[in-house]
Symmetry: C2
Subunit: 220 residues, 2 copies
């Protein structure tokens, strides 16, 4: 809520008497509602007594392209709002310029917003096809896939990660669609040193996004 | 189930007629049970029709210490079985020698086992105090904390991550206890480049464990 207010995204705010007492700094402009109404409006099992109607910031990929982005995270048909929110949080932490969602869950789904810990309000969340990201000039597109021909360590060593980069992530269940894999500049794997068959999607995304962040700051 | 059988951890296996038909390769030694009994025995909402009684592999920290470990993940009072299982899966993928649990959730909790994608059967899962890990000779202990004085990139650059290392992770809610922070050789932060206040625990653990895996293989 604090993040949504800071981002000037809140159109209307409703709060219970209890929430107004607990958070006077947030609720100066709130309309008071009953506990029952707050529970009915809220999606969570233990509502906080604060419900906001928010304006969804919806920049386009063209807006993002104009800003000469250096790091993008692209989620292709993400099917788990918790994973999507966690990756948005990690992209924010890694200093990404935007997150692009191609289908799948809505980043402003309540569960995704909570998993993002407010990061959906920190960086542009764009809806659009991964193919349009692959068509951006000057941005190397890296498809994260367990079967990638290139290891992420090779790409860090050869300087690929130091330039403007968009990472493409598929869903936990299905990975990236074949047409997206075909369009990307490289199919990239995180090496598996032990006996696990694969990494959890959000864990793999954290390793990829931070490898880029480090390389772009000359610390690879 | 496949992982548990491969690890020779299954003492008794029960399967529905349907599961026996679908998975003949797994159910040669299974006792047939009804769908109703399978549902009653299973924890999940949509049971697979296969229920096993498993022997829990429980090596001690002394066993692990004897094997001259190079990479350990230590979870101190983890409170989310999904996060714990995901970190065990990542530790396995990063080639860790063992995972140590100091309190908190049980790694063999059904939800943790599923989040680990079988990794709880791939590497030793040890129960014991983090203080004992900090007392191991020749192992540098790194406490992962957002307020750490050292950045993980510094430790990669100065060679610290190239030696035998144990990473200590606290709970998502409370972080690491003060006494564990005090015993560790370094308090280490993953740098935040954007506006996120922190990383999700499993994402931070993935970045830390893979930084060590890369450094130990001469790819830092």
């Amino acid at each position: 809520m604090r993040e949504a207010l800071a981002a000037d995204a809140v159109l209307e705010l409703f709060a219970t008497a209890d929430a107004i007492e607990r958070h006077p700094e947030l609720t100066a402009d709130a309309a008071e509602i009953s506990e029952k109404d707050a529970a009915a409006l809220s999606e969570t099992v233990t509502p906080q007594g604060l419900v906001a109607v928010c304006r969804l910031p919806r920049p386009t990929l063209a807006d993002v392209a104009e800003s000469s982005p250096r790091l993008l995270a692209v989620l292709v048909e993400p099917n788990d709002p918790g994973n999507a929110g966690t990756i948005i949080r990690t992209a924010d932490a890694a200093g990404a310029d935007a997150v692009v969602l191609d289908g799948g869950v809505d980043a402003f789904n309540g569960k995704a917003v909570r998993a993002s810990a407010g990061s959906v309000f920190h960086l542009p969340i764009v809806e659009g096809p991964a193919a349009d990201v692959c068509a951006l000039r000057g941005v190397t597109t890296l498809a994260a896939t367990g079967s990638g021909a290139r290891s992420i360590d090779e790409l860090a060593a050869d300087g690929t990660l130091s330039g403007p980069t968009a990472w493409l992530f598929g869903s936990e269940a299905h990975g990236l669609p074949a047409d997206v894999l075909a369009r990307a500049d490289h199919a990239v794997r995180v090496p598996i040193y032990g006996r696990a068959e694969s990494l959890n999607l959000a864990a793999a995304a954290a390793i990829c996004l931070y490898a880029s962040a480090r390389a772009q700051r000359g610390r690879s």
